[in-house]
């Protein structure tokens, strides 16, 4: 049972904003390492941040953080919001000696993103590098092929004794801002995590907010599956970060597979490969955005999935949708997102949750 602040920001109708405090928290989250199945470092930050702002909190059998902030009033909808704590990365699987480790990927990483990168391993963030054969020693034929994963090694230096097979790690990128942009690793989904923390701190009184900081999204939406079963909410909303592939095409022709674009606001999902969003919820978000003049875009229907894909199939079915912050270079060392898109994402969610009533689900799904 948390200690409640006697006068809540949400009571005074104060909307959450993104200022230095929130950016610093995002920085802390992005610089932390939490690979699928080993989310402890981010879990600790989340537990610390939400303490005192929720009525109940527990860590479940998979490591999900499940927290509830109850609303006031009689007929409150139970709204589950999820953000996944895990990021893609590596697991060390064999010690080749002299500080060299064979590693495997955890989650989807394009192997062309690996050579020449600095990495960090384990809770102690032990530094390492991923090198490759020097160009001088390669042939032209060889350079036409991708460098196979099983030839790459993480090099922690010959004197290392702190790192061992089983340890997890990822790129060593440090968070920074550049003009309007945020540049960091794991914007997918630390942006969702930090947004959910803010929503908890300003939870609208009219709903029961069931917050799920999920694990193992990147390897099959596994945390969300069990969390939704446990919560059995009336509505499910996944907060994620979605790719913006909005670069120029090599042939100068129009790019029509951009998925989302930076700077156009939060992305509302109509469909991805995991879920056909409940149209009632899509309409609710669109109406909210239109009435408050919050910019938004639709994520292009197509491949990729997130926690909503698991949420909507739990129990006897949960009406679900997702809202994501666009980001470039997903699942690579450095992702880029716009601060403004994040702000508008938070604003859209807060506004939408504040005007949510049970009437939304009164009609049949259509």
């Amino acid at each position: 049972m948390g200690i409640r602040n006697p006068v809540l920001a949400s009571d005074k109708g104060i909307m959450p904003t993104i200022g230095n405090q929130q950016i610093k928290l995002l920085e802390r989250l992005c610089n932390a390492i939490a690979i699928s199945g080993d989310e402890g470092e981010v879990r600790a930050i989340v537990l610390e941040e939400i303490k005192g702002h929720v009525d109940e909190v527990r860590v479940d059998a998979l490591g999900n953080v499940l927290a509830v902030k109850k609303g006031t009033g009689k007929k409150t909808l139970r709204v589950m919001l999820s953000a996944h704590m895990d990021e893609v990365g590596f697991m060390l699987v064999a010690d080749d000696g002299e500080g060299l480790f064979r590693f495997e990927l955890v989650g989807g990483i394009d192997i062309r993103q690996l050579p020449g990168k600095a990495v960090l391993i384990g809770r102690d963030h032990v530094p390492g590098v991923i090198g490759a054969r020097p160009i001088h020693l390669t042939s032209r034929e060889e350079r036409q092929e991708k460098i196979p994963l099983d030839t790459l090694r993480i090099d922690t230096g010959p004197g290392n004794s702190k790192v061992k097979p089983g340890d997890r790690g990822t790129f060593a990128t440090r968070f920074q801002q550049s003009g309007p942009s945020l540049m960091a690793k794991s914007l997918d989904d630390r942006l969702g995590v930090v947004t959910l923390i803010e929503l908890i701190k300003h939870a609208p009184a009219g709903i029961d907010l069931q917050a799920a900081f999920t694990v193992q999204e990147e390897i099959g939406l596994r945390g969300a599956k069990v969390a939704t079963y446990a919560f059995n909410p009336d509505i499910g909303i996944a907060l994620d970060a979605t790719p913006a592939n909005d670069l120029p095409s090599w042939d100068g022709l129009e790019n029509n597979t951009y998925n989302t674009k930076l700077g156009l606001g939060p992305a509302i999902y109509i469909a991805d490969s995991g879920i056909l969003s409940d149209p009632r919820l899509v309409r609710w978000l669109v109406e909210t955005a239109d009435s408050r003049k919050i910019p938004y875009q639709f994520r292009q229907p197509g491949g990729g999935r997130n926690d909503a894909g698991a949420m909507h199939l739990a129990q006897a079915g949960i009406p679900s949708v997702s809202v994501s912050v666009p980001h470039r270079y997903s699942h690579t060392a450095i992702s880029v997102a716009r601060l403004e898109d994040w702000k508008n994402s938070l604003a859209l969610l807060q506004a939408a949750l504040t005007r949510l009533t049970p009437e939304l689900l009164a009609s049949e799904r259509a």
């Binding site: 199945g37 402890g40 860590v59 479940d60 069990v226 079963y229």
Partner: protein, 357 residues
């Protein structure tokens, strides 16, 4: 367990392809009946045995799951007396040509076992790209030696085909045959149950021989949901070092079971099992499982609101071939490790089940 080898031979000689596990289920049921308080079948074919613990009710429970189904083939049609086949579970078609098989025919209302072989038609009868290379399963045929008229009477679409290789004891206390994936683990669980006869355990113990692991973990999914155990331990075979299998994913034969770690396993459960192996001075290896464990554990962990799960491995060579090889000692060690672990479970064990130290 002195009769382990004969029991294993019985197990792997009984048919029991995914979805059709009845013959092997009966053998396991007969073996387990004196070792458990209750025994029953799950809705989708798993065998579920329960040993009551000595603790006060309501007692926590540990479910140990070992799949009993085996891979094989299924008849998809008959062409000029030859059987067309598809796989049940993962079969590398390249190992099939020339393989002796048993056809479990059910035509004409009579069940009959026919002897046959998988044949690779001669080159002119194959598509160009297969004349000199691997032949796809769809172009391999089973010849039973019977005339087409006889085949049509006896065999129906959907009839099952299994490898006919008999068990062979190799040197160094090893056993070779098909279906050691995963009947070897059923053997280990049986060793565990026998050990528990002479020990006390405060927790309830569910011994489950699951169905249909090879085709989608159905038995594990159904049984875990029905039983709703406090923790789940899955025992499955893992890769043993051997020809073509020598990297980090493979473990020496005869040097003990493996204890796996990764997202599919609860770290505290892994630590407790490792501690038990150390205290029993049993040899074992750490198995690294970066994501999908490839076992029933993938289903048990996400049942209902989530079940802490662990996977213990028994090294095995030539997985999914008619000539799989296991070391008897590894099976015995796995069984003793499980028994030791189960006996050690006390009323406060779950307090240790936290993700972060």
């Amino acid at each position: 367990m002195t009769e382990l080898i004969p029991f294993l031979k019985d197990l792997i000689s009984a048919p029991g392809l995914s979805g059709y596990e009845d013959p092997v289920t009966k053998i396991i049921e007969d073996k387990w009946r004196p070792l458990v308080n209750e025994i029953s079948r799950g809705k989708t074919g798993s065998l579920q045995g329960l040993r009551h613990g000595t603790g006060e009710a309501p007692r926590p429970s540990v479910m140990v799951a070992t799949h009993m189904d085996a891979i094989g083939l299924m008849v998809t049609g008959i062409t000029e007396g030859f059987l067309r086949i598809s796989e049940v579970g993962g079969v590398d078609a390249r190992i099939l040509p020339g393989t002796p098989v048993n056809v479990f025919s059910t035509g004409a209302g009579v069940a009959k076992v026919l002897h046959g072989l998988v044949t690779q038609p001669s080159a002119p009868l194959l598509p160009e790209q297969e004349r000199d290379g691997p032949v796809a399963l769809g172009n391999l045929l089973v010849d039973t030696g019977l005339l087409p008229r006889q085949v049509t009477e006896l065999v129906r679409t959907g009839d099952l085909v299994s490898f006919a290789q008999s068990p062979v004891e190799l040197s160094g206390e090893t056993l070779s045959g098909h279906s050691l994936d995963n009947r070897a683990s059923v053997g280990a669980l049986t060793v565990c149950l026998e050990e528990l006869q002479t020990r006390t355990h405060s927790w309830d113990v569910w011994a489950v021989a699951t169905s249909q692991e090879e085709v989608g973990l159905l038995g594990a999914s159904s049984s875990t949901y029905q039983i709703h155990p406090t923790i789940a331990i899955v025992v499955d075979v893992t890769f043993a070092k051997g020809p073509g299998t020598s990297d980090w994913q493979a473990f020496p034969l005869g040097k003990g079971p493996t204890i796996a770690m990764g997202p599919n396993m609860h770290p505290a459960l892994h630590k407790a099992m490792q501690g038990m192996a150390d205290s029993l001075e049993l040899p074992y290896a750490l198995e690294f499982s970066p994501s999908h464990s490839g076992t029933d554990g993938w289903a048990t962990q996400v049942s209902a609101e989530g079940i802490p799960t662990l996977v213990v491995g028994i090294p095995l060579r030539y997985m999914h071939m008619p000539v799989e090889v296991v070391a008897i000692k590894d099976i015995q060690r796995a069984g003793r490790l499980l028994a030791g672990f189960i006996s050690s479970l006390g009323p406060d064990f779950m307090e240790k089940m936290v993700w972060d130290k």
